[in-house]
């Protein structure tokens, strides 16, 4: 039992990372019906920006908490700008063309980011600086252990979720996002600047992926230009699992996938881990294509 709970805790921290990335997939899909396959690479870029800012800030002698927060903020800001730029240059010109054209472009952008990364940073993995001392806490006198990093991941994720929820529910931009995802044409005619709303969506999604990149780096200590591929795909699975287009769905899908994966590895099938994630995708697509929280899509005639 304790072993199971231990793995559950580990699973939640992996799942939080998936959830943060999945949010970007789901928000972008919700608003322009595009699976942005370059999203995993925005996560990678965010991780690298976090790495360089953390290195710089730590050398400059800031206390660890400040280094963490500033690295997150810097990485999220720059990645948000990257997201906006990608949308403007690559997807916006294709807004009126077929969805498959935009999808293929997304794959192209993904390769572009990956191999620009390889070109500039080199293909080898780099060590992420230890921002905080790693501590182990023991829970309730049992043998269950929680690492300080896992606490940090959960805290960061929860805070970002609350901010996101606030933006989507209560701000002008958030309401515009919901209106646009509901009916672009009507939103436009109600005075909503659709282009700006789409940019905001990309910015927010990319910022969340960047945050995931930074905490990923801190947890696994190793970042490389191709690191975004697998987490990107897994987060996509998580988004579909939760119901693509649904924000709570992305969160639940991410956490669920993370725990399933960790439990599978803990049972001794660690080489099956990725396979299980994609098996989940296949099962969902067969039995409940709209996902756990997804609405049944009615095609407009």
């Amino acid at each position: 039992m304790e072993y199971f709970i231990q793995q559950l805790i580990n699973g939640i921290s992996v799942g939080s990372i998936y959830a943060l990335i999945a949010l970007g997939y789901t928000m972008v899909y919700g608003i322009i019906k595009l699976i942005n396959f370059a999203h995993g690479d925005v996560f990678m870029v965010g991780s690298f920006i976090g790495l360089y800012s953390a290195r710089y800030l730590a050398n400059a002698g800031f206390p660890p908490v400040v280094v963490l927060i500033l690295s997150l903020v810097i990485s999220m800001t720059i990645s948000a700008l990257l997201g906006i730029t990608v949308e403007r240059l690559a997807y916006k010109p294709l807004r009126k063309s077929t969805r498959i054209a935009a999808l293929i472009t997304a794959i192209g952008v993904s390769f572009l980011l990956e191999y620009t990364g390889v070109l500039i940073l080199g293909p080898q993995a780099q060590g992420f600086p230890d921002i905080m001392d790693k501590k182990q806490y023991t829970l309730f006198g049992s043998s269950i252990q929680v690492e300080s990093n896992q606490v940090m991941i959960l805290l960061t994720t929860i805070i970002l979720m609350i901010i996101l929820q606030y933006i989507v529910r209560y701000t002008k931009t958030g309401k515009a996002m919901r209106a646009v995802s509901f009916d672009v044409e009507a939103a436009r005619l109600m005075g909503i600047n659709v282009d700006r709303t789409i940019s905001a969506t990309f910015a927010i999604g990319s910022a969340l992926a960047a945050a995931a990149g930074v905490i990923f780096g801190m947890t696994y200590n190793s970042v490389d230009p191709l690191m975004g591929v697998m987490p990107g795909l897994k987060a996509f699975v998580a988004a579909v699992l939760g119901g693509i287009g649904s924000i709570p769905g992305a969160l639940v899908g991410g956490l669920l996938l993370g725990t399933v994966e960790t439990e599978i590895s803990s049972l001794g099938f660690s080489s099956w881990r990725d396979g299980v994630a994609f098996a989940v995708l296949i099962l969902i697509l067969i039995f409940k294509p709209s996902g756990l929280f997804g609405k049944n899509v009615r095609e407009k005639v």
């Binding site: 901010i163 606030y166 933006i167 209560y170 701000t171 002008k172 931009t173 309401k175 515009a176 919901r178 209106a179 509901f182 009916d183 044409e185 009507a186 939103a187 436009r188 005619l189 109600m190 005075g191 909503i192 600047n193 659709v194 905001a200």
Partner: protein, 260 residues
Amino acid sequence: MTQSAKTVLLDVKEASRSFGGLKALSEVSLHIDTGELIGLIGPNGAGKTTLFNLLTGVYPPSTGSIILNNESIGGMKPYKINHKGAARTFQNIRLFTSMTVLENVKIAFHQHARHSLFTSMLRLPKHFKGEDEITQKAMDILKIFDLDEQSEEVASNLSYGNQRRLEIARALAAGPKLLLLDEPAAGMNPNETRDLMNLIAWIRKEFDLTILLIEHDMSLVMGVCDRIYVLDRGMLIANGTPTEIRSNPKVIEAYLGQEA
């Protein structure tokens, strides 16, 4: 009519729109003075909604010009035209049905609000002031349409007639000078229709509106409109007061078909 000089609010000059080989509108010219309530009628497929789409920027006119309040809006983006003062409703209701009644109206207000994502995020006083003001204004408008008690209801739960009314309320929230109503009474029963027409006449006075109204129910259009334009197969075939239109042979022909 009045002693003050009439000003032209909307001036459409020879506007055409084709889709591929199909000419949906050909060289339509019309003008609407400030404060008028104008009816736009015509058989199905005459191009009424196409004209609305040109006026609100859904697509640009193929040729010709559209001038709103001395400013050319032909080909301008829809949200900008909305900001310039033209708001509309839809023939098939297009509310944001998963949002509440209040949110539907607030969203239109928001686009004209001064507070930004930044001030809201930091929860600056400006945000609260702006937000309270918007909620208040939205509730005021809902009250006019007798929807204030259902403000927290999800829009899709409203009755059909109330959804139609909410669409008008949402359009009004943009603070338009020109209100374009695309079959506002479609599907309503005669009682609801009569109430709606009274309401339209009332908001026209209350908000100093100029209204262009598409409607199928002839008796209704005849009752409330100052002037009527008649479209048939993309062309304007008549223009005049309800009495003139009623006796216009071309209109009768368009509606009843040519007599053998």
